[in-house]
């Protein structure tokens, strides 16, 4: 009994420290990598002078932010202005708790992991909006409003994309296996992150990206929007709104937003890893093998280390994609952003859910079901990617621009003949 309590306490301390240090460390390292990756893509050096290859730069940055004067404009709404960074940052820290870095390094193996994560990531909106309102600055206000609209809109497809994966766990669940599933007990999948990982371990390469690639893509796009990263960085669009809701913040308060943003990126990547890339599974992450080889304690240590390595390595892929997207794409406009979410992503994910749900009713073997689901989803993905230009009308716009058709409002809806008539008009 006392050994159990001691074990729980040790587990708590280890996972708490790991989560906290990982968040802080990851944010710092990411800020460095962000610059380095951007610099690499943009044909320049990036941080260079402090430490080898500029490695000490993030440390200095953090030091500068900590030592900066805590400035505040005289007309701010004090309670909101002071609370906003904390409201933004606390959910980030809390969401780290449920992430299963490895079987042991899981702060709380909550049975409601996905819901918990989604709920916490929605709280960020409140922090951003408080910052926007509390700063009493027009740019901040517009930024806050944009952020609220954007985060709420993208929350929906984000959840719906995860639902597809959750439904897969119910298909794989033992009650649903076989040609004639017991429909009374079947359909009860798991929304616990640990169980979602476990569902992808049998066989160990059965990652949900193979069956739900569309879910991953949609989830990742929504993740970009949730974290206010390019091309969805409208709330802090530097060229339009100076810094959006961050305009009036400096020093430590700004640093908390900064940490929160990078922490959010980590969480989005981690959840994508858990749900779609099989979590900590990977070559060598075999518990039985290491325990048999090295004995209980050291075997567990080695196994967990390898598992955490795979987890972080998979996260790194997503984080790298975050950074590369930022250097590649321009920014959307507010109405285009909304249209993309409500008319593009939400119907798509709903259709995906419908498709996945229909699988339950097919009276065949689980493997056949998964293959059917996979093929259908890959098809949907290709249709989405290649039909994207048709969906947004960009293909036609580009074609018209190359043909030199005047861009009067609604020109993209013209027929070729009408457009030709326009082309000659008005040229002296």
């Amino acid at each position: 009994m006392s050994a159990d309590i001691l074990g729980t306490i040790v587990h708590f301390i280890i996972t708490f420290l790991f989560s906290l240090l990982f968040l802080m460390g990851a944010a710092t390292i990411l800020s460095y990598l962000d610059r380095k990756v951007q610099a690499y893509a943009q044909d320049r050096y990036g941080p260079l002078h402090y430490g080898p290859a500029g490695l000490a730069q993030p440390v200095l940055d953090v030091g500068k932010l900590l030592l900066k004067e805590d400035m505040r404009a005289s007309a701010t709404d004090n309670p909101l202005f002071w609370l906003a960074p904390m409201v933004f940052f606390a959910p980030v820290l809390a969401a780290f708790v449920v992430l299963p870095f490895s079987p042991y390094l899981t702060g709380a193996a909550l049975a409601t992991g996905v819901i918990f994560y989604v709920a916490l990531s929605s709280i960020d909106v409140i922090g951003v909006f408080m910052a926007g309102w509390g700063a009493n600055n027009k740019y901040a206000l517009i930024g806050g409003l944009r952020s609220a609209a954007q985060m709420i809109s993208y929350e929906l497809p984000l959840v719906l994309a995860l639902v597809g994966a959750v439904m897969l766990t119910s298909i794989i669940a033992p009650a649903c296996a076989g040609a004639t599933p017991d429909l009374n007990t079947c359909g009860v999948g798991s929304i616990s992150f640990t169980n979602i990982v476990n569902a992808q371990l049998n066989p160990p390469w059965l990652w949900f990206i193979l069956i739900q690639p569309l879910g991953l893509l949609v989830y990742y796009i929504c993740g970009l929007a949730e974290t206010n990263r390019s091309p969805f960085d409208l709330p802090e669009a530097e060229s339009e709104l100076v810094a959006g809701y961050l305009t009036e913040f400096s020093g430590l308060r700004w640093a908390m937003f900064f940490l929160g943003e990078y922490g959010n990126m980590c969480i989005v990547s981690a959840v994508a890893t858990v749900v779609f890339l099989g979590g900590w599974s990977g070559p060598g992450a075999n518990e039985g093998f290491w325990v048999g080889l090295l004995g209980g304690f050291f075997g567990q240590v080695v196994f967990n280390a390898i598992a955490a390595f795979w987890f972080i390595a998979k996260m790194a892929i997503f984080l790298f994609a975050f950074l590369m997207v930022r250097v590649t794409l321009p920014r959307l406009r507010a109405d285009q952003l909304m249209r993309f979410a409500w008319l593009g992503l939400i119907p798509l994910t709903l259709f995906n859910i419908l498709l996945t749900g229909a699988l339950l009713l097919i009276p065949t073997d689980t493997n056949v079901k998964l293959i059917v689901a996979g093929v259908a989803n890959w098809l949907l993905l290709f249709i989405f990617v290649f039909g994207f230009r048709r969906l947004t009308g960009v293909g036609k716009k580009l074609k018209q621009a190359q043909e030199g058709i005047p861009a009067i409002p609604g020109a993209e809806r013209l027929s070729a003949k009408e457009a030709k008539q326009l082309t000659g008009a008005g040229t002296p």
């Binding site: 943009q42 027009k138 091309p231 250097v327 960009v394 861009a407």
Partner: protein, 388 residues
Amino acid sequence: MTLQTNQGDPDAASALYTEDATGLRSEEMILNMGPQHPSTHGVLRLVLTLDGETVMQCTPVMGYLHRGMEKTFENRPYMAGPRYIDNADYLSPMINEVCYAGAVEQIMGVEPPPRAQYIRVIVQELERIASHLVAVGTYGLDLGAFTPVLWAFRDREVILDLFEALSGHRFTHNYMRVGGVLYDLPKGWIQQCEQWATRFVDKNLPELEGLLTGNEIFVSRTRGVGYIDPQQALAYALTGPMTRASGVNFDVRVQRPYGAYREIAVRPQLQTGGDCFARYRVRMDEMVESVRLIREALDKLPSGPISNRSPIALRPPRGETYYSVETGRGEESIYMISDGSEYPYRAKLRAPSFVNLQILPELLRGNKIGDVIAILGSIDIVLGDVDR
């Protein structure tokens, strides 16, 4: 100013409120964009009246960079003029200098020797490329793409290096003289220029274009935004890429060729789209065309003197003239009056940015805040040119 008085007067301010049937009160917001703002390209200030995110009215306020350039000209000898006009359109100083020197030459009725004229064409086209690179790069920055501006500056750096080798300065060159240019091309300059041109056209420009032209987000942000009718372009006296993107074939180099442009034919780059995307395309196409002109000028470059050796104390005869050149932004002209003294009696600078900016309130009405930046960026103003 009406907007300010509205704020001070409570009755007038309350007129900004509107109430709908349900009793919901909505208020128009006045947003001061600039003069310290990342993407007003300097110190332009736009007083925007917003309904939500939609722009209802826009009042540009300028003059924060006014240096009294025309007054300065009146009090400096003719030979000192090029040094001051450098700062007008600070992204194309070489072309400004050609404008000033050309105006004085036109009053005097002289022409620089052929070699000087060809060198002028080469540096003008290089400057045009440098100016367009900044325009396209910062346009990407305005739309939220960080990379194009840095990729554009790779080539601009080389151009500035070439100018440094030529004139000794990277930015305010002070290179043109009345009746010629200051220095001849240094040794190896032509080879370097040709190497750069090859690399630029074959590698760097397609890379830059690949980043923007086919990009869905870029196209949807620019196509159909800020449409200018050809008639509107003429009525507002727009020049440069602004008017050529609307299908109006106006280019000073083509219509009234000056210097060696009389021997090197310029193909005007036209687009009929009339929107931000067309303006972007015109700039991209003009860069390719400029490289062609540079190559042609380098091939035809005659030998001989580079200057007429005009006296420092230059006294043009009495008279007046209107001399135009084509900068990266449009027609830049000087209306110069000489009273026979060593100093211009009046030198009025017709700045393309200033005239092009005039259409901005017309274009912005009804657009979103994001489009304010997209449209302003596509006009490609230089505040040194607007305020002079």
